[in-house]
Amino acid sequence: MENIILPLSYLIGSITFIVGLKMLSHPDSARKGNLVAAAGMTLAIFATIFLYHDEQGNTLGNYPWIFGGLVIGTVLGTLAAKKVQMTAMPEMVSLFNGMGGACAMLISVIEYHHNPSADKGMLIVIVLGMIIGTVSFAGSIIAWGKLNGKIKDKAIPGAQIINFILWAALVVLAVMLITGFCATPVVFYGILAVAALYGVLFVMPIGGADMPVVISLLNSFTGVAAAFGGFLYNNPVMLTGGILVGSAGTILTMLMCKAMNRSLKNVLIGSFGNNAASGGSSSKEQGAYKEISLNDTAVLLAYSQKVFIIPGYGLAVAQAQHACHELEKLLEEKGVEVKYGIHPVAGRMPGHMNVLLAEADVPYEKLMEMEDANSEFGTTNVVLILGANDVVNPAAKEDPSSPIYGMPILEVEQAEHIIVNKRSMKPGYAGIENDLFFKPKTSMLFGDAKKVLQDLVGELKAL
């Protein structure tokens, strides 16, 4: 009886992963889906701890270590996940993804250490699992550093050639090890080092604005690395979980690229930062921009009929979502219709703005998706842009030499007035100048989004 419980638990685990992912892709069931998958995972973990045995029937030992690790990981993971601010969510996902990659890497290292002369099939699985896990780990850490600003975008000259050499080195070393031509630990750890270097160089030149796509891609890498673990231990739940994430993650990556109207190849090879230099400087007739005072803004807003707020990363950084909601409520009280125009990739991740505004209790009905918002700008009096830049850049429509050319944007120019809140005239994350700021309809309102919004609320109350 006992020996069917483990496989049964694994089967249930696999099913919860599938059902969970399915539920996660629908707004109504998403939260439950996450819990379903978590329950299945818990079952699979505890079934493994207590019921796993190898072919000779030996059960697992070292329980203090296992539980110690589980407790430490649970405490740290919960704390980190609970404490992290909404703005830092993307980084956190990247970091957790890196942990998974590192875990896969360590498993391979230990398995090799136990049995350096395993048969070819085993060695292939160990080495591939390690390579993918390591690339994912190193890449995720770089992505994490980029998102929280610790690592700056840096174009590496000849990056493609270097990456090609690293690839070749990986293949040669792996073949040497697996065929037994030169099967020494030095070669094994050499593979590890090259894979780590490759992970770093793979992510390094990619612009910060493209990080969500990269994280999604690395996410599916880790899935594949986990699946190799499934091969290693003949473990069906690791295999289904890993491969599911691997394939779903790849599809998700492509969907994200599509939302930005860019191909994956374009993201990975034609790095954003590189082209920006050539594309951005070519903007021709850049006149002067004009500023608007807080008081004028308040008056303009209060006597409008319809106001559209376009949130961007600046709003998230300033943690201004609550102030923004307050402004919106105040305007509504004055009889102004207020809506939010949400660009699918505003912020650092798709859905970033939705989550942020939801945190401040902004009603769901007020958030307009891009297509709907675009059809309403024509009847809008004032568009208030809060820390968004590239998603309203007309260059995406007009300037074929621009790196963001072809990306769908919020066409705010159709509105009567455009007020842009930014901290300075510095270009946005993609490093591209924005002609919108120099249009006659546009006024600039400089300052930190939170401060400006709070002051605006004050001005409105005093009106």
Binding site: W65, L76, T78, C103, L239
Partner: protein, 106 residues
């Protein structure tokens, strides 16, 4: 060649291979048409699911000989990292989705 031979003649390996193929299609199918609002939570949820690699870490830890300190240390580290991936992943996803459900009720 032995390896390929094994892949198809050994029933256990062949079964795993079947799971892989089916899972690939399932993964594609399951994601289907997801609204862009859910891209981030979905990615985060998938991130937690690949934390299933923790099972490998538990097995490798549980099998480590008690005098092999390298394996014990690395295994311990692997269990911690794997748990971080699982627990952190699910909690972060829940936090993101909590906000979606809250606004729905209003």
């Amino acid at each position: 060649m032995d390896f390929l031979q094994n892949l198809f003649s050994d029933p256990a390996t062949y079964r795993l291979l079947t799971i892989v193929i089916l899972s690939i299609f399932l993964g594609i199918e399951v994601i289907g048409r997801v609204p862009s609002v859910l891209h981030t939570p979905l990615m985060s949820g998938a991130n937690a699911i690949h934390g299933v690699v923790i099972i490998g870490a538990i097995i490798v830890m549980g099998q480590a000989p008690s005098d092999d300190y390298l394996a014990l240390t690395l295994g311990f580290l692997a269990v911690i990292l794997g748990t971080l991936n699982v627990v952190g992943g699910f909690v972060v996803t829940d936090r993101m989705l909590e906000m979606f459900s809250k606004k729905k009720k209003k």
